[in-house]
Amino acid sequence: MEALTAHLSALGHGLVTTVELTVVATVGAMLLGIIVATLRIAPVPLLRAIGTTYVEVFQNLPLLALLVLFVFALPTIGITFPLFTSAVIVIAVYEGAYLAEAIRAGINTVGVGQAEAARAIGLTFGQSLRHVILPQGLRAVIQPIGNICIALLMNTSLAAAVGVVELTQAANNVNLVEAQPIAVFTGAGLAYMLLALIIGQVTGLLERRLAIVR
């Protein structure tokens, strides 16, 4: 236990960075997810192709490979982002692909009659999406979105590999001094569990408030 309590400030900084990474990347991934899901159901074949390509590329490449490519390959063509920003962008882009599929599943639960009715009263594609399809579609997939957010939280630990000192890297550094891997990583694991439980609780709350009982 001493191994943990003696380094609370280092671990605390790591925890804060993990939370920041998770929150910013989740917001980015949600925006990307909605945009890509919309592309995938758009009436224009080219847009659908772009959406499909995005999902297939980012779902089928490992996140660590994307992170290393983004951090080390981009500077060779003159583009260098700070490490934290790089991690946020890559995690948001990667998880955006998963969110897009969850959101598309939600959209597909909305009855065809809803879309036809929206068109019949003269709504454009964008209007029917905003006012009719998405509000119903998103409510159907609150749980899957919550699960992806938890996966995103866990995936932020990969940012340690590209120099971001988040919770996992902070635990590594503390362990380097204390040589108490079981205590240190159990502590870090409990912190991740707590964060995941919070996301789970919020998801449950949203689901009870918002889900449409059919």
């Binding site: 340690a160 590209v162 891997p181």
Partner: protein, 322 residues
């Protein structure tokens, strides 16, 4: 399919996707290639020597007598098993790096492990379990590995968890900078600078006291850290001086400045309860240091990038915690 679009044949969409994915993959592939600047394989022209210890060194290495190995001891179990199970790395140049062509693991740590196997079993049969630096203590306590050869710095904190035979090698941290940098001449000039370190290396803990006010960024592997230095993500790279020397030989864009500013004593990690095995390993170290095997291994590996002959091996038990 979706409710908002008209019919769209499945075959066409698949073909489109496949093409797009292929193009995207080709693009990322190219980026990756140009990202790593000419990786040097061990044994390539980048190193002075061939980085490999000659077979004759193994052939001449000592083997323990039956009297050294009492029945029921750890050594006896290893001899019956037929191979030594060690924890180590596969990606540490000059220390323990797997040759991608031949598949063998080369370097100082890897060769020491083979020599210990030869001493116990009679032939250099080693099974290497790649372990992270985070898990070494736990692996030794659980007896998942017989010994750890992984530039394992001997510290009093670690000595409460595991036993250290040795030290079998001493080294030190040094400072590497970009070739065109003239502002950094030693570790003292690092105050207030951004310094790249290897994650889970002694540099992480040594830097705050050696260069107060410096900002650290840590990368998982040595090639990544070198790349980060050349891409100006930091002003300097603090790492073991032998690793820096080999990096500077392979990368004309960087240089090593000043002398090593710490002394790291590396030990062979062993289970803490097994004092018999620790004594056995220490006796073996004494033998190979006395008969010149140790110096030959050093010259074949680390000696290929460090000028001057093999140093005097460190005295056993000289580090706090060994």
């Amino acid at each position: 399919m979706s409710i908002l679009k008209k019919s769209f044949t499945r075959r066409r969409s698949l073909a489109l996707t496949a093409t797009a994915v292929a193009v995207a993959l080709a693009a990322t592939g190219c980026g990756g290639d140009s990202g790593s600047s000419a990786p040097t394989l061990p044994g390539d022209a980048g190193l002075g020597g061939d980085g490999v210890v000659a077979q004759s060194v193994y052939d001449a290495a000592p083997v323990a007598t039956d009297a050294d190995i009492p029945a029921g001891s750890t050594m006896d179990a290893i001899r019956k098993r037929g191979y030594l199970n060690i924890g180590g790395s596969l990606d540490a140049p000059l220390l323990a790096q797997q040759n991608p062509v031949s598949g063998t693991i080369e370097g100082f740590d890897a060769d020491m492990a083979k020599l210990l196997a030869k001493y116990i079993i009679g032939k250099p049969e080693v099974k290497t379990t790649t372990i992270g630096t985070q898990t070494r203590e736990a692996m030794l306590q659980a007896k998942s590995v017989d010994a750890v050869f992984q530039t394992y710095t001997i510290t009093p904190q670690r000595a409460t968890q595991v036993a250290f035979a040795g030290p079998y090698l001493t080294s030190g941290l040094a400072v590497g900078v970009r070739k065109d940098d003239t502002s950094i001449k030693s570790v003292k000039d690092l105050a207030g600078k951004t310094v790249i370190v290897g994650a889970n290396t002694p540099a992480v803990t040594a830097l705050p006291s050696a260069a107060p006010g410096s900002k650290q960024i840590a990368f998982g592997t040595d090639p990544q850290a070198l790349q980060a230095l050349l891409q100006k993500r930091g002003d300097a790279y603090v790492q073991d001086f032998t690793l820096l020397a080999s990096g500077a030989k392979a990368n004309p864009g960087m240089k090593v400045v000043g002398e090593p500013f710490t002394t790291e004593a590396y030990g062979i990690g062993l289970n803490r309860e097994d004092t018999q095995f620790k004594e056995f390993v220490n006796n073996w170290l004494k033998k190979i240091q006395a008969d010149g095997t140790w110096a030959k291994v050093w010259e074949g590996t680390l000696g290929s990038v460090v000028e001057g002959g093999a140093p005097t091996p460190p005295a056993l038990g000289s580090a706090d915690g060994s």
